[in-house]
Symmetry: C2
């Protein structure tokens, strides 16, 4: 159900012919009755902003946060495509608006795929009538499937907010180091809320989910998270809404990390004892981006020396004399020196799929966790030639 | 010849038994007559500073920049080894000082290898008499070989300064993102110079060589560059000395990049047209650390969209409308949009070993180049299990 689990929404996904493979590549999430509802979004901070991000931001502004539908495509990011790209993103919205007989600025648009390639806009526009025609409350799985690129699994979530529902779908398997947003995600709820309340819930929700996900340190040109509220469940407590949205974001972020390109490990890399939370985040992110550390994880190797080296060079307050590191709860070093420990437990932990690693700096009470992966041959295979 | 090319120096390298493989692992560079000469060093800024770095800095200070010899080992970095590590580094110096009958603070020490493992200090100290005994003007190749870890080739250089000589050796194939210094390098010269003049020449020399080398974004715990001057060639112009030292550093940095772990490409990633040189450096370094970009290079793929995306997200002044990117001198995008170009020339360039890539931001006159590599399966193989 995902995006159609909340009352008042329908969805669809079809193969329009954007992808040479013939896989599904065009997706829709819309209100069931074609009415405009409150909507909000958060977007990439990459200055190389893709056309659909620019158009969606503009539509949310001119419609005062009212939307009827989101149209999404995979197979082409419509990024680094200049004026033509903007015209193509508008054309996608216009085609859907025509079918639904609503204003063009009530349609939002997202794209994902290769950068720098002109959109096959005729193919997309030609596919819109068929897409809109098959929208239904049963279309959530198709919609989530049609936004996949190198994802191996559709990513969906349903959260019971207690009297209301939040549902969502997302895609993302690389170029994943979201900043104030992430790869594509569309959330829906039947809670009644203003665009401002939705925006507040999104900002809160992404902070501890997509924004602490770091697969490869690369922030995409197209990151977008949208939230639409039908209001059919009536007014809800803002804290309950924020909590349910945050849970949905956290689930989708974890699903992205689990399906990251080529990854064999999902790693929660935590830094504690930092001078501040901000310094802990710098440290955790720096370690999570270290190829030497990522290769160690791939090799099931608890090589804490590389983590120590990264923490020592990332610019935060650091003293080797107060550093300790643990794997799966087993402390392997104190004062930056190897200590006797239960090796068998560490070996078993490193052999598993989910790693819990904590580096304690002993400087203060700051802490942060980054959700990340190992670096594998398969990641290279997926990325050594795609243009 | 390398470190013995400058008059007044001898060198040696032996297999002392630190490495399980039996490969050479203990190295010496010393003045030919056992006299103390002017010396200077630059060191890692990693706060997880290795014991030999701490000891060498301390010795240079207490001896007022006078040194007789440098002892180096591979196979163990003596990093994250606590108080015992400091004692071990001092013991290495003491063993050499005893053999040469000089003060212990006139001996400098460098180590490279695994982090967090206690030094086999008895093996090392036992090997010192044999190491010192075989020192000679013909020992440069042996010395350069005995500091290798995952290096596949010894790295040596001789620069004719015009009336004086600068020679050097270095090692380094990963954890290479030097900051004010690099992996191990020892330079010698027969120029006459004070420790302060040597330090100035080193700081100048590393700025445009080791400090713009970025193999994997990881700054080592042990980075050290030392320069010793016998003075036998008499006084020289400081500018000539700085130039020759810079040339030696540049050659060694290029040799490191050429031999980087698993690399198939040596890439000069240049950013021009930045608001400032500092912003250009941020951009070039960010692109050089991008795994998606590095995978593209491995696949011989001129995927400029990923470079554009990195430049857009690295925090510097950036406007897609003024971005252009070229490969091997052929511009493939202008205003961040694909332009018609000579594809055959680009394909041929990408198939080669040396890539020249320029991203022009169109914002100002700032420029910077980072010397870097592609990311390959072999890099992962070398780093997935070594502790």
């Amino acid at each position: 159900m995902s995006v159609t689990a909340a009352a008042g929404f329908v969805a669809a996904g079809i193969a329009a012919g954007i992808k040479a493979s013939g896989n599904p590549d065009l997706s829709l999430v819309a209100t069931a009755d074609g009415s405009a509802v409150a909507a909000a979004g958060v977007f990439t901070r990459n200055k190389m902003t893709a056309a659909p991000v620019i158009v969606t931001r503009s539509h949310l502004e001119s419609s005062a946060g009212q939307a009827v539908a989101v149209v999404l495509n995979s197979g082409n990011a419509n990024a680094a495509t200049g004026e033509q790209g903007l015209a193509d993103a508008e054309a996608m919205c216009a085609a859907v608006a025509t079918e639904l007989d609503v204003a063009v600025d009530q349609i939002l648009v997202c794209s994902t795929g290769l950068i720098g390639i002109p959109m096959p806009i005729d193919v997309i526009v030609a596919g819109v009538p068929a897409l809109v025609a098959v929208r239904s409350v049963d279309g959530a799985q198709d919609a989530a499937t049609a936004i996949m690129t190198t994802d191996t699994r559709a990513k969906q979530v349903v959260i019971d907010g207690g009297g209301f529902t939040v549902g969502g779908m997302a895609k993302g398997a690389a170029m994943l180091s979201p900043n104030m947003a992430t790869m594509l995600a569309v959330l829906t709820t039947d809670a009644e809320a203003t665009p401002e309340q939705l925006k507040a819930a999104l900002v809160h929700g992404v902070a501890e989910s997509f924004n602490v996900l770091d697969v490869d340190g690369c922030t995409s040109t197209n990151d977008t998270v949208l939230l639409l509220a039908s209001g059919l469940a009536g007014p809800v407590d803002q804290a309950a809404l924020e909590s349910a949205v945050a849970d949905a974001c956290a689930s989708l972020a974890f699903q992205m990390c689990s399906d990251a390109e080529g990854a064999t490990k999902v790693v929660r890399m935590t830094v504690t004892g930092a001078a501040t939370d901000a310094e802990a985040l710098v440290g955790a992110r720096y370690v999570s981006r270290s190829n030497l550390v990522k290769c160690s994880w791939y090799g099931c190797d608890p090589y804490w020396g590389r983590i120590a080296s990264d923490l020592g060079s990332c610019g935060i307050e650091f003293d080797p004399d107060t550093l300790s590191v643990s794997y799966g709860g087993v402390t392997v070093c104190r004062a930056a020196v190897d200590v006797d420990h239960d090796s068998a437990t560490v070996v078993a932990h490193m052999a598993g799929r989910n790693l819990e690693i904590v580096a304690d700096l002993g400087q203060g009470t700051g802490r942060a966790t980054i959700l990340t992966n190992d670096l594998t041959h398969a990641y290279i295979d997926e990325n050594m030639g795609t243009s």
